[in-house]
Amino acid sequence: MTDVLHLLLNGFAVALTPGNLLACFVGVLMGTITGILPGLGPIGAMALLMSATYGMPTSTALIMIAGIYYGAYYGGSTTSILMNLPGEAASVMTCLDGYQMARKGRAGAALAIAAIGSFLAGTVGLVLLMLFSPPLAKAALSFGPPEYFGLAVLGLFLLSNISGKSALEATLMSLVGMAIGTIGTDVVSGSSRFTLGITELTTGIDFPLVAMGAFGVAEVLSVITEKTQDAVQLQSVRFRDLYPNKEEMRRSAMPIVRGSFLGFLVGLMPGPAASLSSFFSYALEKKVSKHPEEFGTGAVEGVAGPESANNAATAGAMTPLLALGLAFSPGTAMLMSGLMIHGVTPGPLFIKDHAPLFWGLIASMYVGNVLLLVLNLPLVGVFASILKTPVNILMPLILVITLTGAYAINLQLLDLALVMIMGVVGFFLRRAGLDVAPLAVGVVIGPMLESTWRQTMMMGNGSLLYPLERPISGAILGVLGLAVVVMMARKVIAYMKGRREAAGQVG
């Protein structure tokens, strides 16, 4: 333990040099900005700055690029809370309760809780990364396709819980989402599905487009068609209202803790780590909450948990990269190329052979998290007052930001059409009283479910029992199966009871 401290102190010596501090600041600033702007993700910014880092020493370059990566997840919640417009997949959950809090006038509180939660979770994630990378990374390796399939089924199971209304409707929405997720090239056979001959569609519909359309654009359309202008808090925002009150802080404490650990663990896995971690966190918070019916109307736990989870997930995602040289997401892949450009190949010996680089990076991430908190908290007031803008100016503004962000993803005009289509679809779904969140989750989980199932079947040569034969996936699926049986048994018993009582009353 003492040599960890020792190494960490050496790391701070590296991280706190003026050059590296500046690099850290530039990185997290760029990260926050790209996080706030919906559509534009950290990948683009990382690529841009990558060329600028050619001449720099490796540690400086790495510090800056990493800063962009984890910084982006601080800013992502801003538009989710203020405009119901998720900036990236990881911020979708924050929209659900964050936006409702904003409508109740608690926008500042939501933004502040998101920032604080992100800071605490980022730090916790860092500590876990620092202390436990090698064993955690090895443990993560024992998760193969059958295990990911188990996780995807778990996600599916939890989907029905995310929506406050009927589970049937939520399932229907998630099926639609999964159908949308099938558009594109099939991983296993290489053939194109539902692409209508359009080359741009062979990589599928980018998730941010679905989220921005179904949430943001649909919201704009809804507000436009509302007869009475549901004024979003136009009274002057008092300073006290800007920040969370004692009750909100108290209720957020445990969600932040749970979110940090959950987020970190989910971040270790390949796949859409940050978004999955926020989904799971939201579902978890709803399950353990004393007032689950509040979720969806502005429960602060619904903001604290997912926001913490997606930040801890970035630390989790960096663990396999630094401990084993495995990059599981586009963001960490960028970090890996950054390293390789400077002649450093991450691998199992990275931590040992390049100790100053590793510890310098860790130390700078602590610094970066503090910088981000300092950057984001004071801006809460500024952002919250955006809501004072009259609706007839705010809505077109949101539309412009959405379309710009949509175009920025791939510089394809088709994406603009897709966002608008998703917006119209989302609008009509809302009119029908259906919740769009399970649809968004379905778009992410559907492809994961399908490809892991097929991979599992290919690995087991078609044996249906294969996933059950392996310890981890068998455990996950077994527990889930049990839970389903118990749930159904309860329903049957309640039904029988009801019939008996009715019969008793009549007879």
Binding site: I43, M46, A47, L48, M50, S51, A140, L141, S142, F143, G144, P145, T185, D186, V187, V188, S189, G190, S191, S192, G197, T199, E200, T202, T203, P270, G271, P320, L324, G325, L326, A327, F328, P330, A333, M334, S337, G338, M340, I341, G343, T345, P346, G347, P348, L349, F350, N410, L411, Q412, S451, Q455, M458, M459, N461
Partner: protein, 337 residues
């Protein structure tokens, strides 16, 4: 009255601005009238040249192209700009260059996905839409296994595979990707039948291999060197003519009796119809860039092999890939058009 004039003025200026800003080959006055076919001093290039990279920035293709292009600028006399156009499995960027003006100002940086795209998928271009200009580098694939498997050399693995057809699992970064096709070529040459498991990219495939969920993988040596040194991955053979300097102790497949040489190249292409004089100018600039020791140093530091070739030789290599892919496609029914 004034309003109308004003509006007309705005409209006119808008139209003019739009025309002036329209992307695509600018319609500057033609500097050369119809060229007679003689070796004249061609005025090329007179402005910056664009290389379209059909992938997201930050990958190996990006790094390779960037290093070589940066160093070629001084031999070309103009700046070289990289333009990223990801999407459609590289098909979008590739199609764009196929349709671009063959005036030498638009190039394509691509790997074998170009060949597999037009052979196996429905895309907007054909094989003869391009002129292979220059091979930037050639990777050598290495077949790796993991320590938990009951074999640590190629021979034993092949025996195992023969006894258990379809049981030995080899991962790839996606169906129809170059490593999938390499694995198919390998199993053909070795006369065995493997179980190909597709993953969403090389990263997850590598993770699955490390975790023991699959037995083999066909991968890029630079990304695996550390693991091989540590012993967490076991190299079985390198699929190239000569041994790979990063892994000097690993014999080639040829040495061990399996005649297969497969390794994805990365090269530059021009749209078909580009005048041969312009092709020559570009080729010379890039050749000089690669001969420059500075370029070679930067490439080696980034773990990119220094293995380049000019237009004619590159064209032969691409043709060779076309032939082997066609044969594989027919045998394994891979065409998805």
């Amino acid at each position: 009255m004034f309003k109308r004039v004003f509006a007309a003025g705005i409209a006119a200026s808008l139209v003019l601005t739009l025309t002036a800003c329209s992307t695509g080959a600018p319609s500057t006055s033609a500097k050369q009238p119809a060229q007679p076919t003689q070796e004249k001093k061609i005025d090329f290039p007179t402005k910056s040249v664009t290389i379209i990279v059909p992938l997201n920035p930050g990958g190996a293709m990006d790094t390779t192209t960037r290093i070589i292009a940066k160093n070629a600028e001084k031999y070309l006399g103009q700046s070289i700009v990289l333009d990223y156009k990801p999407g459609g499995g590289s098909a979008i960027g590739q199609a764009q260059v196929a349709k671009a003006r063959p005036d030498g100002y638009t190039l394509l940086a691509s790997g074998p996905s170009l060949v597999s795209n037009y052979l196996l998928k429905k895309v907007d271009f054909k094989g003869d839409s391009f002129i292979p200009l220059f091979k930037m580098t050639q990777d050598t694939d290495v077949i790796v296994g993991q320590p938990k498997a009951p074999y640590n050399n190629l021979k034993t693995m092949i025996e195992q595979a023969k006894q258990n057809p379809g049981k030995v699992r080899v991962g790839n970064s996606g169906t129809l990707g170059s490593d999938h096709l390499s694995s198919l070529a390998f199993q053909d040459a070795a006369g065995i039948q493997l179980n190909h498991i597709p993953f969403d990219g090389a990263g997850p495939a590598r993770a699955a291999l490390l975790g023991g969920h699959i037995e083999l993988m066909d991968a890029n040596p630079a990304e695996l060197v550390e693991h091989i040194k540590q012993g967490t991955l076991v190299p079985l053979a390198v699929l190239s003519d000569k041994r790979n300097p990063l892994l000097p102790d690993v014999p080639t497949a040829k040495e061990q009796g399996i005649d297969v040489v497969m390794g994805p190249w990365r090269g530059l292409f021009l749209p078909a119809g580009t005048p041969p004089e312009i092709v020559k100018i570009l080729e010379t600039a890039f050749l000089k860039s690669l001969q420059d020791p500075d370029t070679q140093k930067q490439l080696t530091e980034a773990a990119i092999p220094v293995d380049y070739a000019g237009s004619e030789e590159f064209a032969k290599i691409v043709k060779g890939f076309e032939q082997s892919y066609t044969a594989l496609a027919q045998k394994y029914n891979l065409v998805t058009k």
